[in-house]
Amino acid sequence: MVKALLGLCALVSVATTLGIVVALFLPAFEFFREVSLRDYLTGTEWAPLFLQKSFGVIPLIVGTLSVTIWASLIAIPLGLGAAIFLSEYARPRLRATLKPALELLAGIPTVVYGYFALTWVTPHLESAGLDVGVFNALSAGLVMGVMIIPTVASLSEDAMSAVPRDLRYGAYALGSSKLQVSTRIVVPAAVSGIVAAFVLGISRAIGETMIVLLAAGQQPNLSFDPREAVETMSAFIAATGAGDVPTGSVEYKTIFAVGATLFVMTLIVNAVSIRLVGKYREVYE
């Protein structure tokens, strides 16, 4: 009796997954009855709300990747650096204060980061002499990178802390410096967890919405130029969903087609991470 009731609670998350799959793919299939999958995946113009409709998703994917690349360039090196410091150099008490403080970065609501990117970072990029537009991929990407630092740092640090002390002591006994122990022993030994942290960070960047909606613009753009405005998949979904598109219209169904594309992309990224982790995992006794 109790077990059945508790099992029912557990079923909620199964129902959520099923719900997501059905909610995304059923309307997406209907969409692809009206627009050919080939035009969608290979088309280079995205204009679903214009009179002359066009449904090529590539500009949205380029926009998403453009922002994600800048976010990764910030978050991966800085997150890894922070993790090495916390795991190998910081004393326990310093780590106990720094780690929650760093995680505060991940707790700031994304709309606040969006505000910051639009009203502080972009003007400062301009005054630094960069020819950026009011909306641009660079400022959204940089701020998103800062937001993801704790994700990368925290998971990488966990992986490094799990490397057995003996490996470090062995390397020290052979005359290694702390730098050598960190970069040649600990990081390689923890590489599966570190890569998983990178990939999780990237997958968060792909799906992040508010920063790009506010700071990167809503203009489909087939360009990797970081100074230009782009529209990401997530920004398109939010902007179109917020508007009053009539249920059942092609415009309405684009939300689901793009949502399904985003969902599949994050799934692939996550699957790659699981594969990598499995491949390079070191098993210690």
């Binding site: 109790v2 077990k3 009731l5 508790l6 609670c9 557990a10 909620v12 998350s13 959520t16 719900g19 997501i20 909610a23 995304l24 309307p27 910030i74 800085l78 890894l80 650096g81 922070a82 090495i84 410091f85 929650p100 403080a101 760093l102 970065l105 707790g107 700031i108 609501p109 994304t110 709309v111 606040v112 969006g114 505000y115 910051f116 009203t119 502080w120 800062v146 704790p150 410096s177 702390k178 730098l179 997958s203 799906g207 919405t209 508010m210 909606l213 506010l214 997530s234 979904i237 939010a238 969903g241 917020a242 249920t247 939300i255 689901f256 949502g259 969902f263 994050t266 799934l267 996550n270």
Partner: protein, 293 residues
């Protein structure tokens, strides 16, 4: 002789090593600092622009096209209601799932392993996708409409995996000797869970739930999708249209008028105070009641 000759390159090599080590540490500290400097800049920027607008008008007035009298009362109230509903929905379902997985489920069964994998995967699904789920099923499918309850349900599903994972860790941390002791005294499985395991796991569960609440009240994208981006000048009800504080911030930030940007900064201060207080509360709770078995 030969020893001295061998010493020279060795020592200069060591010196180089020392410098390399110092530069390396400096780089590591720098990478940690970037995040903190960015956070500090953000706080300073928002405070300097918005603090003049944090006043009774902001807290008690309705939004308006005139920035001088515009406030965020409906959005604030809605965020409050969303938070209360969220806790009411999330905690029982999340803790129930965690108890099922930790205390009742047989790990060897394929469906229980699938359940665990499913929860891990759900935690990585972008929040905007939950918005799509809400739009398709709650707002249009069930015909619930663009109401506050739909928002609360979507936020519940969004943070449920986090709560489940936190609750499982808290339950797992209760040593099995406590369970075995209770069984030895003739307790049933439910009595063990209800009177021994759960009370011991409450601090961990509460910490996880508060962190989930802090995350949920800042969520914007899924609420925009289910229609929270509207002009609301009256107090929200569970079955009525709504807007929430982060959505109000988005709305004001988008407007070109710099006075509305300052209002957005003021609303951000209010939101950040709420989020930071919740985070601080969670950390305090964790440190205060953390048990070492």
């Amino acid at each position: 002789m030969s020893i001295a000759a061998a010493n020279v390159p060795l020592q200069s090599g060591r010196k180089r090593g020392v410098w390399r080590g110092r530069i390396f540490v400096a780089l590591l500290v720098l990478s940690l600092l970037v995040g903190f400097v960015a956070l500090g800049t953000l706080f300073f920027d928002v405070l300097s622009k918005g603090v003049a607008y944090v006043d009774p008008v902001l807290l008690t007035n309705s939004p308006s096209s005139d920035p001088a009298v515009a406030g965020a009362r409906p959005a604030l109230l809605a965020t409050l209601y969303l938070g209360i509903l969220l806790i009411l929905f999330t905690v029982p379902i999340g803790v129930g799932t965690a108890i099922y997985l930790e205390e009742y489920a047989n790990r060897d069964r394929w469906y229980n392993r699938l359940l665990e994998l499913n929860i891990q995967n759900l935690a990585a699904v972008p929040s905007i996708v939950y918005g799509i789920l809400g739009l398709a099923f709650l707002v249009r499918g069930l015909g619930l409409g663009r109401v506050l309850l739909a928002g609360a349900l979507i936020l519940t599903l969004l943070v449920l995996p986090t709560v489940i994972i936190a609750a499982r860790e808290a339950i797992r941390a209760v040593p099995s000797s406590i369970r075995e002791g209770a069984y030895a005294l003739g307790a049933t499985q439910w009595q063990v869970v209800w009177r021994q395991v759960l009370p011991a796991a409450i601090p961990g569960i509460a910490t996880g739930s508060i962190l989930a609440l802090a995350r949920a009240i800042g969520e914007t994208a899924p609420l925009i999708l289910i229609g929270a981006l509207t002009f609301i000048s009256f107090n929200p009800t569970a079955m009525g249209p709504f807007t929430a504080l982060p959505v109000q911030i988005y709305n004001w930030t988008k407007l070109p008028d710099p006075e509305f940007k300052a209002l957005a900064a003021a609303a951000i201060i209010v939101l950040l105070i709420m989020v930071l207080l919740l985070n601080a509360g969670a950390i305090w709770l964790r440190n205060r009641y953390q048990k070492r078995w």
